[in-house]
């Protein structure tokens, strides 16, 4: 390698460009010519880059009449929803199985109620920290030996905690199902819970939080909980270095002993598996000594939004800002779910949606904008959001507000074309949601989570078909409620802003001077255009700074 490098330099410097010899100066000018500095040795010409040489081909493409219109669909091919079996296991686990035998793979996830929402005040992060620790190894195998055992099988076993669910999952090739199950069973019943793993995980998580506070995208995720839920709700209290530091190994031992029990747990399985085989594993000797019930999670307190209307987190130097309009929405089992779904799709459900066409395709402020309802067991959070070029932050916030209001107040109701597009898309797009065993299981799993019946999708098409334009308008009015929303901006507070003037952008100025994001939002809040409550500046933990 070294010889090749030298050779290349040699070739490059062997043939310096031939410089033209300047003609001798003609003494027309009486002033003596300044002595030219000695000419630097001619720089070796860099080697001419090798580039592609292909040339355009002039081709005449035909334009037959049949190309002028979208072709008609062929006859519909029958689609059968994949079957899901509900199996009550002897130890009290309820299993949901989607069989799929074309590939020799099996995945399962054993889930338990509980999760971050039950974290005690002052120990935020307990559930996720302890479940991570559960996944580190077993009493028999430490972290390294456990990782090696899995790597030899190309299997995975992992543990996790979400807000209101937690679990231990595994996936494996069929031929390694027994060995993988043995490792899984040990993790569930007799995890290692070692002090050195605990310390390492805690330190790692503290470092992750530092990094989360670094960039606008992750900061926006971090502060939205505190803004929406307020300090009396767990989701309103961020995980910090301090709360992680307050959690002990004994807390995690107690956590495992409290939550991970079979009775009341739910098991989701897909792949090359049968009821008989499943019973053999989960009712067999590996879990024989495992008993008890998953406790009931404590009641969740009501959220209380932080006082204020516009929330700003300053990230100096940010090249883009996150802008969002956020508020609470209806639960997943609301009667008007279908029309709410169609309505939010029109607003922000995909590429063709209003806010994406506005912020991306019309104005070029963003790479993409979205809006929709994110559901949990109790309610939903509505958000309309985009990452936008820094100088367009202010205008983007106005555009998002405008689009939400246009639907909510009925100024620009969803058109028949939009509603038809979204309804057809939801109906014809249903098979794609069940295209694979894992995606089918995911669909059923959501139903179980929301407490909806497993045959929900049998009547789905009919329900979507029945959604009327008027109902879409009612859903917009009932659930968008911009008057109760908050506006969140994470970006460079001292960057100057533009404003839209017809079809072009111009600098946002006040008294002839450029206006910063902070000043623009201060004025906007004072004007009351987005409602009362004023501008509140937060830090990256979502805590009020002034």
């Amino acid at each position: 390698m070294r010889t090749r490098a030298l050779l290349l330099i040699a070739i490059a410097s062997c043939c310096p460009p031939k410089t033209k010899t300047a003609p001798p100066p003609v003494a027309e000018n009486p002033m003596p010519a300044p002595t030219p500095p000695p000419a630097p040795p001619p720089a070796p010409e860099p080697p001419k880059p090798v580039t592609q040489t292909a040339q355009p081909q002039e081709l005449a493409f035909p334009d037959e009449d049949f190309r002028k219109a979208q072709p008609a669909p062929g006859p519909e091919r029958p689609f059968h929803l994949p079957h899901v079996q509900t199996i009550k296991l002897k130890n009290g686990i309820t299993a949901y199985l989607v069989e799929q035998h074309t590939l020799p793979i099996v995945s399962w996830d054993l889930t338990f109620d509980g999760g971050s929402l039950a974290d005690p005040q002052g120990k935020e992060g307990l559930a996720s920290q302890c479940m991570s620790l559960v996944g580190e190894g077993t009493q028999k195998l430490d972290k390294i030996a456990f990782s090696e055992a899995l790597a030899d099988l190309a299997s995975s076993v992992s543990a996790y905690a979400g807000d209101d669910l937690q679990g231990v999952g595994a996936s494996t090739l069929t031929k390694h199902v027994d060995e993988t199950f043995a490792l899984f069973a040990d993790v569930v019943q007799t995890p290692g819970l070692r002090a050195d793993d605990f310390d390492r995980l805690t330190k790692r998580r503290i470092e992750s939080i530092k990094q989360q506070k670094g960039a606008p995208g992750s900061v926006a995720g971090r502060v939205s909980g505190p803004i929406l839920y307020g300090p009396k709700h767990r989701l309103g209290r961020p995980v910090t270095e301090a709360t992680l530091g307050a959690i002990t190994l004994d807390d995690c031992k107690a956590y495992h002993a409290k939550w991970l029990h079979p009775r009341g747990a739910r098991l989701f399985v897909f792949g090359d598996m049968t009821e008989e085989k499943l019973r053999g594993l989960f009712e067999g000797s590996a879990l024989a000594g495992w008993a008890g019930s998953v406790p009931t999670a404590p009641a969740e307190p009501a959220p209380h939004m932080l006082a204020g209307r516009i929330f700003l987190v300053d990230i100096p130097g940010a090249q883009q800002s996150v802008v969002a309009l956020m508020g609470f929405g209806p639960p997943r089992n609301a009667n008007d779910y279908m029309q709410t779904m169609i309505m939010s799709s029109v607003l922000g459900g995909g590429f063709a949606s209003r806010i994406n066409m506005n912020l991306r395709e019309d104005k070029g402020y963003s790479y993409g904008a979205r809006a929709g309802f994110a559901y949990d067991r109790k309610r939903s959070v509505f958000s309309a959001t985009a990452q936008v070029r820094t100088d367009s932050t202010y205008q983007s916030l106005l555009e998002i507000d405008k689009e939400v209001n246009a639907l909510a107040a009925g100024g620009t109701p969803a058109t028949d074309v939009e509603i038809d597009r979204e309804k057809q898309g939801a109906i014809l797009g249903l098979p794609a949601k069940f295209a694979t065993g894992s995606s089918a299981l995911q669909m059923y799993r959501s139903l179980v989570y929301y407490g909806l019946p497993l045959d929900y999708y049998a009547s789905y098409v009919d329900k979507v078909k029945k959604v009327a334009g008027k109902a879409v308008g009612s859903a917009a009015k009932a659930h968008l409620k911009p008057g109760e929303a908050v506006y969140v901006v994470v970006g460079d507070a001292n960057a100057t802003m533009i404003v839209r003037d017809g079809k072009t952008d111009k600098p946002l100025e006040k008294d002839g001077k450029p206006v910063t994001l902070r000043a623009a939002l201060t004025d906007l809040a004072a004007s009351g255009k987005l409602g009362k409550g004023g501008l509140v500046v937060l830090d990256a933990d979502g805590q009020v700074t002034k």
Partner: protein
């Protein structure tokens, strides 16, 4: 061809002594239209859906100086509209017929466009794809190009400039290649080059690279092959005969070792990356260096993971990868340091571990693990119709044979600790490595 059962279309032999015979196989046929367009059909009637996946055999690695980011900008333009489809209608039309997984992506070697549609709507996908292959330029205008330049610049901000360590990724490519080399700028391109793109540039790029003979369309899913052939003939068959553009292979001139230090506005932890030139994708030593990367950095079992993350806790994250591209590759090791960790100690450990790979063989178990992982991944990737199409396209593009799962896995099964050590000695040398240190602005905390 007639329809056969799904299990046979995704043949997975139950057990056999010969491991290669246990490899999954995707049943397909491949043929070429008179105009040069290549077609791959992989029927599977399990679910009434078809993945339509079209590759144009051009990527950012084919760009010429001053036109960086062009292949990707062009990908955006292909969604803006063609004569018979209309402006900005692509997503709307596909959404209305129940389409899913609608997107396009660009890398150094190819640009792909894809959608998953209900079986009975296959023809609409063919209409969309054929119209933008043939009648794009009639719709091309400055306004829409200007808009997409803005959008791509936003994408650049979102993916690089506004991300921790994002600018370092751009700087690493700049350090690895000389001026004028097509890999010098990442696929997203230089902001100035993007800004300078003209309608004429777009036209010229289209006429050079987006000709039928430089494209391959793959259908994977529920369709009758005879019917699909007739439909493909209808929508693409009357296109004029084209020549497959000649591709000039561009090698990567060796680099001298260099240490680069930079600061990052958004990073909170120091990060060190080591990068070497390495073999092209599927070229000799590509699999060997892939095994070396896994042995170094895999979570839990990797050598660097163990010492840096687990034992000494100097690092938050360790990654290593062999990234083969069409003409050459990049092997990287990246370590994110814990706050307060001694950077020199980390440098010494990484240098020592790489030296150890040059001097001593990996264990058989370390190599066997990567083989097992590859055999397993080869099966998992067949679950989705779109991924199956991608697998066929990938092997077809790089190897000229879509049926290469076993060939690919054999590279790993047939390698040895000796061969891996030889590959490490050849490529991961101390004389030709870029070390890039990224520190949080204001110094590492």
């Amino acid at each position: 061809m007639h329809l056969v059962a799904a299990a046979a279309l995704l043949a997975i032999p139950a057990r056999a002594d010969d491991t290669a015979k246990q490899d999954p196989k995707i049943k397909f046929e491949r043929y070429t239209l008179d105009n040069g367009l290549e077609v791959i059909l992989a029927p599977d009637p399990a679910v009434p859906l078809v993945a339509v996946n079209l590759w144009y055999h051009v990527g950012s690695g084919y760009e010429v100086p001053g036109k960086s980011g062009f292949a990707h900008l062009f990908e955006h333009m292909l969604f803006q509209g063609s004569k018979n489809v209309g402006e900005d209608k692509h997503f709307e039309i596909l959404k209305k017929i129940g389409g899913d997984q609608i997107n396009g992506t660009t890398n150094t070697d190819r640009t792909n466009y894809f959608e998953l549609v209900p079986s009975n709507q296959l023809e609409t996908a063919l209409w969309l794809e054929s119209d933008r292959m043939s009648h794009l330029l009639e719709m091309l205008n400055q306004q829409s190009l200007t808009n997409q330049i803005d959008v791509v610049r936003n994408e650049r901000r979102q993916s690089y400039e506004n991300q921790p360590y994002g600018k370092a990724r751009i700087a690493l490519y700049e350090a690895l290649y000389p001026e004028g080399h097509p890999y010098k700028h990442t696929t997203i391109g230089l902001a100035d080059d993007l800004q300078a793109a003209t309608v004429d540039d777009v036209k010229s790029f289209f006429k050079t690279w987006y000709v039928p003979a430089n494209a391959t369309i793959t259908l994977s899913g529920d369709f009758d092959p005879a019917d699909a052939k007739a439909k493909i003939e209808k929508w693409f068959g009357s296109f004029p005969k084209s020549e497959k553009p000649k591709v000039v292979a561009i090698s990567a001139p060796p680099i001298a070792s260099k240490k680069i230090e930079m600061t990052d506005d958004f990073a909170k932890l120091r990060q060190i990356t080591w990068a070497w030139h390495s073999p092209a994708r599927f070229a000799a030593d590509d699999a060997e260096l892939d095994v070396a990367a896994e042995a170094l950095a895999r979570e839990g079992t990797g050598r660097l993971y163990r010492v840096l993350v687990h034992d000494k806790q100097l690092a938050q994250v360790v990654r290593a990868s062999q990234g083969g591209m069409g003409f050459s590759g990049i092997f990287t090791i990246t370590v994110q340091l814990r706050t307060g960790a001694d950077a020199q100690e980390v440098e010494r450990i990484v240098t020592d571990e790489v030296a150890k790979l040059r001097g001593e063989n990996l264990s058989d178990r370390e190599v066997a693990r990567v083989v097992t992982e590859g055999e397993s991944a080869a099966i998992y990737q067949l679950e989705s119709l779109m991924q199956r199409a991608q697998v066929l396209q990938t092997y077809n593009h790089y190897l000229g044979n879509p049926d290469s799962i076993t060939w690919d896995l054999d590279r790993y099964r047939n390698t040895t600790p000796d061969k891996i050590r030889a590959a490490v000695n050849k490529w991961l040398t101390p004389d030709h490595v870029i070390e890039m240190v990224v520190s949080p602005k204001g110094g590492a905390s």
